[in-house]
């Protein structure tokens, strides 16, 4: 059959325009069976078709599809043939756009969207599926690490472990990406402690950035202490951007800047995070592609740095969900500045009051109690240890740390503690096993599990391994008071009632309960002089910090220590215990001329100083 053609509809007409024969594709295009069409005039298929016209060999015509009634644009090529006296006309019909089965664009879009959705669902499901065994693999590698291995084996294990961790990061990105595509991620707006958020990020990166021989700077202007926003998402974007900077910077510094800017167009304020590096920089023509999914600058950068190429695209989506923007300014060879901004919503007193009320529900006044307890904290994750230690210090406890169950057992044997906080999932010896071991030589010490798994079965497991109680992760400060109250009530130090009564107005109640840089009661003792005291404190402290800075640049540990001593004393005078403690550390390092230690503490000092200053300024405003 010469009329059968797979891609093009072929119609043969006689000299009067009557359809003689068609191939199968004509049916596909028009919806008409060849038996129906045969013998009909061509105008039946193509209305107003002038089959005699020869001036245009190829033209665009409209066909009405039999079933859907849709109008389809087709290209028709007309050829006149003469076989002696017999004339035949052939029409070659092709669809203008490839619209299989005559579907219109809308339908095609819908179908494509469905496919994308299915793909995302699949990715999400697979990520979960892959993650579960991956956790098993990584956990077991950690166990393997703790066994007796030769040097060679240790190296192998280390490689498997770091590869596993990279794989997990990639999986998380894919998971996030699919969730964002599927519109499943929303940003919450709740009061958040901005200083706390920055503090957390700073501590997270301090070690890795310094390990790479880079300087890590933190700069911020007058930024509000409490804003409305999504803590987790802001953190995620900033972490991602700093991670990128870290990947592509081999010498120099990484600087995190936070500032408030005014939008020229509508006059609204927004909060801007800038991550400045002194890395490779990005060529101008590549900048546009950066925030698209699956893009990395070039193959060599992929080889150098790895990754899914999803990170920035995820950041962009998250920034947009929060009503913000993301961008980059970069120069090859000099470095890049990635920035991300969100509309600034400062927490109102009402918002803070909500938090205060919430906190008040956890036994009034209890959070102000202090406990003279010596605590052993067992957790394998450094950040967790950091967070819990901070909370415990806030309660007046002294804390000793152990990174795994084995160390914990040793320490529990040798030391005398009042209570143990025990993470459950840990390498070497897990929390359950460690609790069992501790019970063999100490029946009485309260052991409290810290667990992310709040299922009843997990709780039973904690109790049956000899632990007394548990706190669900992520932990908050409030979780601890009931535990102390229940298990070490005799170690309570009675709080000062006067302080309680004087600090009932927000934001200071909030600050008191949470993570305030200083105790307001110390300021209140100055009565009418308080404003002057604050003014002088800031002036003196500025000078002292300037002097410390100078001593550090002169590599003079001794001087830095002396200046820090004075700073400690004036900070203690206004009840700023945390910064006083940091200053004391510098003082001690100075005495023993440990220069490296001073530099590390100095970064903490500057950060905490910002908090103190911010607090003092808002305190004056509230007077």
């Amino acid at each position: 059959m010469f009329l059968s053609h797979d891609f093009v509809g072929l119609v043969i007409l006689n000299s009067k325009g009557i359809i003689q024969s068609v191939n199968s594709h004509v049916e596909a295009i028009t919806g008409y069976n060849n038996k129906i069409i045969a013998g009909k005039n061509i105008t039946f298929l193509i209305p107003e078709f002038d089959f005699l016209s020869k001036d245009n060999n190829s033209r665009t015509e409209k066909i009405i599809h039999k079933d859907s009634g849709n109008i389809i644009n087709v290209d028709v090529s007309v050829t006149h043939h003469n076989f002696g006296n017999r004339k035949l006309i052939t029409l070659l019909i092709t669809q203008e756009s490839k619209q299989p089965n005559g579907k219109d664009l809308e339908e095609i879009k819908k179908e494509a969207k469905k496919v994308v959705e299915k793909k995302n669902e699949f990715l999400a499901r697979m990520s979960h599926e892959i993650r579960t065994p991956m956790n098993g693999i990584i956990g077991t590698i950690s166990l393997l690490e703790g066994t007796d291995l030769s040097e060679k084996q240790k190296n192998y294990v280390h490689t498997i472990k770091s590869s596993g961790k990279s794989l997990l990061v990639i999986l998380n990105e894919i998971l996030d990406f699919s969730a964002l595509e599927a519109g499943k991620i929303e940003a919450v707006k709740e009061p958040l402690d901005l200083y706390n958020c920055i503090d957390e990020i700073y501590h997270l990166f301090q070690a890795p950035i310094q390990d790479k021989g880079l300087e890590f700077n933190l700069e911020y202007d007058d930024i509000p202490e409490y804003i409305m926003g999504d803590h987790g998402r802001i953190r995620q974007v900033v972490i991602n951007l700093i991670n990128n900077a870290l990947k592509f910077t081999s010498k120099g510094s990484i600087t995190l800047k936070i500032l408030v800017q005014n939008n020229d167009n509508d006059g609204s304020d927004y909060l801007k995070f800038l991550i400045c590096d002194t890395g490779d920089g990005i060529p101008k023509d590549k900048v546009k592609e950066l925030f698209q999914a699956f893009s990395q600058i070039d193959e060599s950068s992929v080889r150098k740095a790895g990754g899914t190429g999803l990170g920035l695209s995820i950041c962009k989506s998250i920034a947009e969900i929060m009503g913000g923007e993301i961008g980059v300014e970069s120069e090859v060879g000099k470095g890049s500045v990635f920035w991300f901004s969100i509309p600034l919503n400062i927490s109102s007193d009402e918002d803070l009051q909500i938090i205060c009320d919430k906190q008040a529900k956890y036994k009034e006044g209890l959070t102000k109690l202090k406990y003279n307890a010596s605590i052993l904290l067992v957790d394998d994750v450094e950040v967790n240890r950091f967070v819990v230690t901070e909370i415990l210090e806030g309660y007046g406890c002294t804390t000793d740390q152990a990174e795994n169950g084995k160390i914990a057992i040793d320490k529990a044997k040798k030391g005398s503690y009042d209570l143990i906080f025990m993470d459950c999932q840990m390498p070497v010896i897990d929390g359950f096993q460690a609790a069992k071991e501790v019970r063999k030589f100490n029946k009485n010490i309260p052991i409290i599990a810290l667990t992310a798994n709040v299922l009843a079965a997990e709780k039973d497991k904690c109790l049956s391994s000899g632990m007394n109680d548990f706190i669900p992760k992520p932990v908050t400060r409030e979780c601890f008071a009931p535990i102390f109250d229940k298990w070490i009530p005799s170690l309570v130090i009675k709080g000062d009632d006067e302080i309680d009564n004087k600090t009932k107005t927000p934001p200071f109640v909030m600050a008191e309960n949470n993570n305030a840089p200083l105790n307001v009661a110390f300021l209140e003792q100055f009565g009418d002089h308080v404003e002057k005291v604050i003014e002088l404190t800031i002036k003196d402290a500025d000078d002292l910090i300037f002097n410390i800075d100078k001593a550090i640049s002169n590599k003079n540990a001794l001087d830095a220590g002396l200046e820090a001593h004075s700073l400690k004393s004036i900070m203690a005078q206004i009840g700023a215990e945390k910064i006083a403690k940091i200053a004391k550390n510098i003082e001690q390092q100075g005495k023993s001329e440990e220069f490296d230690g001073i530099e590390i503490f100095y970064k903490d000092l500057k950060l905490e100083y910002k908090r103190v200053i911010g607090f003092l300024r808002s305190y004056i405003k509230g007077l």
Binding site: F522, F526, G527, L536, Q573
Partner: protein, 120 residues
């Protein structure tokens, strides 16, 4: 009315001590280093010295020794210093201080010390 000379090289510490002392009804003179302190003492009219133990130029200990040499045991001297230096209390007392007080300063602490040295 008694007069107290406060010696401290940090401005805000001078100010806070002054605020508390004036609340307690004490006249206050101040010096931010040892030399000024000795000069002020020479002018006379001082009943009690509140002396920071950690002066940068001339240490509190040195200054205390000079005060004892020049003004004998009639001049009351209260040393004040950071909390964790409490072992220094003994040093200060041995060196001839009449009282020892830890920082941060409070009105109550000052009142207590001033009473114990017989100024209040």
């Amino acid at each position: 009315m008694a007069t107290c000379l406060v010696v401290d090289d940090v401005t805000v510490s001078l100010f806070t001590a002054r605020a508390f002392l004036e609340d307690l009804g004490i006249d206050v003179k101040q010096a931010s280093d040892g030399e000024t302190a000795l000069a002020t003492l020479d002018e006379g009219g001082i009943d009690v010295v509140l002396l920071d133990w950690h002066l940068k130029k001339k240490s509190g200990l040195e200054l205390l020794e000079v005060i004892r040499d020049k003004h004998g045991s009639d001049m009351k001297v209260i040393v004040f210093s950071g909390v964790e230096d409490s072992t220094k209390a003994d040093d200060a007392i041995i060196a001839g201080a009449d009282g020892y007080m830890t920082k941060p300063t409070t009105k109550e602490k000052l009142e207590h010390e001033l009473k114990s040295v017989g100024i209040l």
